[in-house]
């Protein structure tokens, strides 16, 4: 990608603490550009999940401002928050699938509420499930799937509405190394289609393997500590061409 890219996420003097005694981070000024593949790392309890929750405005920051897709999160009324969230996708470490819904119903959850016709919902869900390698499992229920399969269903649910930003909180935390790499391949493919991907993880092996921009939370700061191109062996064939 050449030229100046728009910042999809910007923070200004961002700081957060839960008890006003120990700050997770302070004075954070960063800009994540459209199409970036970002890792956010740090030890357990450093504030990775908190940072993602701030981006979703599940929490309000103690200090500073956050701009997501050009909108100041603090200024958005609660009733309109859904508009910005619909431009984002979120993947949880523990998948958070609804066990009583089929894979298809889990993946189409948002589309149903958005009033997408059932036929289109189904087509989009099957296409998205195929893109994460689960084309044949749409009738299954989550408890009957392996951890890797459940995480891929969760990814499909997060990307079915074509978000501009995908946030993933320790998405490989419950998976074995091979499956972790597989999940990363999916994220890289999503990123190659133009979606900004932000992955919070403390898995150094994965970070080294994948590449991208690396932000670390250390001593109350979030700083860009490394920037490498994405590992070509993980890139989809069409991106290499």
């Amino acid at each position: 990608m050449n030229g100046v890219r728009a910042a999809v996420i910007q923070t200004f003097q961002l700081g957060h603490t839960y008890d006003r005694r120990r700050w997770l981070f302070r004075d954070v000024n960063l800009a994540i550009e459209a199409g970036d593949f970002v890792f956010l790392t740090g030890p357990s309890g450093a504030g990775k999940t908190t940072f993602l929750r701030l981006l979703l405005r599940e929490l309000h920051p103690t200090e500073g401002q956050i701009l997501v897709l050009g909108q100041n999160l603090r200024a958005i009324p609660d009733a309109r928050l859904y508009r910005i969230r619909r431009q984002m996708g979120f993947v949880f470490q523990d998948f958070r699938l609804i066990p009583t819904y089929t894979v298809l119903e889990n993946v189409t959850l948002l589309l149903r509420l958005m009033g997408v016709p059932p036929k289109e919902q189904r087509q989009r869900a099957i296409r998205t499930l195929q893109s994460v390698g689960l084309g044949g499992l749409w009738r299954s229920y989550p408890p009957s799937l392996s951890g890797g399969e459940q995480q891929r269903v969760a990814i499909a649910r997060a990307i079915i509405h074509n978000p501009k930003v995908l946030l993933a909180d320790e998405p490989t935390g419950n998976l074995d190394p091979e499956m972790s790499v597989e999940i990363m391949r999916i994220f890289i493919r999503i990123n190659a289609s133009g979606t900004t991907v932000i992955v919070a993880t403390h898995d150094d092996r994965l970070i080294r393997l994948v590449g991208g921009k690396l932000y670390a939370i250390e001593r109350e700061r979030i700083q860009l500590v490394d920037q490498r191109p994405i590992n070509p062996s993980l890139l989809p064939v069409e991106a290499l061409g």
Partner: protein, 303 residues
């Protein structure tokens, strides 16, 4: 069209949730059913009472007796009073001669006695028929007191005992129904509200996921309102069926009883509009229960 699909999805969420929590759905809709069934039976009993007592109420006659020396001007004042009263349906002036003729017609064995008297002892009077739907004790008392104070009026007679007993009976039925209905409706409301709260807590994670995925706040809340309405609808449908079956049972039993003892066939008219009230009551109870639940959760900070 998109809006329709959204509504269908919300309805589906609500329905699936009711199905998922069969136990709580069954208990709460049964409570609604019992409440509305009792209410329906109470209304029906009131309707029967009204139907049975109507002939008695229609036969209420007020007698306004005039003094012998009452002038025609005084009679006009009495008639003005009767014309102005909303309780009065019709009236008829009965002269002493007409009163005598009627008396002899009713009791011919006393003709000799009446003939032997020098003067006609029966006074001129008004026979006043009251509008049965408007008769109530307080209004009637006011009318009687007013008439009694008029010049030329010797006295006013009405079936006071009956009027007052019937008035009390209707008051008991009306207020008793209101109080009983209110208490039962309160119970049902509280039950629905708690069922919705339980349902919310059971689906807390789902609600959170929906919210994070970008569901509109109303898309998250509406299934709970619909759940309440569906619970109410379910309960009221069951109550309507039960109410109808109870009426049939009561009808059959009373018929058998009256035929056996008095060889009379009792007709118990079914007030079908009560079914509409039961259904509307169920929907309202369900909706208000959901409103109460979400209000309570917001006040607690849990929703």
């Amino acid at each position: 069209m998109r809006r329709l699909y959204t509504w269908l999805a919300i309805l589906q969420f609500a329905w699936m949730n009711l199905k998922r929590n069969r136990m709580t759905t069954g208990v709460s809709s049964s409570i609604i059913m019992v409440v509305l069934w009792l209410l329906g039976c109470w209304l029906q009993a009131g309707h029967w009472l009204e139907a049975w007592l109507r002939p008695y109420r229609e036969s209420f006659i007020l007698y306004v007796y005039l003094m012998d020396e009452a002038a025609s001007g005084q009679r006009s004042v009495v008639e003005q009073w009767l014309r102005a009263s909303p309780l009065v349906q019709t009236w008829q002036f009965i002269s002493p001669a007409e009163a005598r003729r009627r008396f002899i017609g009713m009791f011919p064995e006393f003709q000799g006695l009446i003939d032997s008297l020098q003067t006609n002892p029966l006074p001129a009077h008004y026979e006043v028929r009251l509008a049965p739907e408007r008769v109530e004790v307080q209004g009637l008392r006011r009318l009687v007191d007013g008439l009694q104070r008029l010049p030329g009026v010797a006295g006013v007679d009405y079936q006071q005992w009956w009027v007052e007993r019937l008035g009390t009976l209707f008051r008991v039925v009306r207020w008793g129904g209101l109080v009983l209905g209110g208490v039962l409706a309160g119970m049902a409301l509280f039950t629905v509200a708690n069922v919705i709260r339980l349902s919310f807590f059971a689906r807390r994670e789902e609600v959170q996921i929906l919210s994070l995925l970008g569901a509109h706040p109303w898309h998250v809340r509406l299934p709970f309102y619909l759940e309440g309405i569906l619970l109410g609808l379910l309960g009221s449908l069951m109550a309507t069926v039960l109410w109808f079956l109870s009426l049939q049972g009561a009808h059959w039993y009373l018929r058998r009883l009256t035929m056996a003892y008095w060889s009379v066939q009792v007709q118990l008219p079914v007030a079908y509009p009560i079914a509409q009230w039961i259904l509307a009551g169920g929907l309202l109870l369900g909706f208000l229960g959901a409103v109460l639940a979400l209000w309570m959760m917001r006040a607690e900070g849990t929703a």
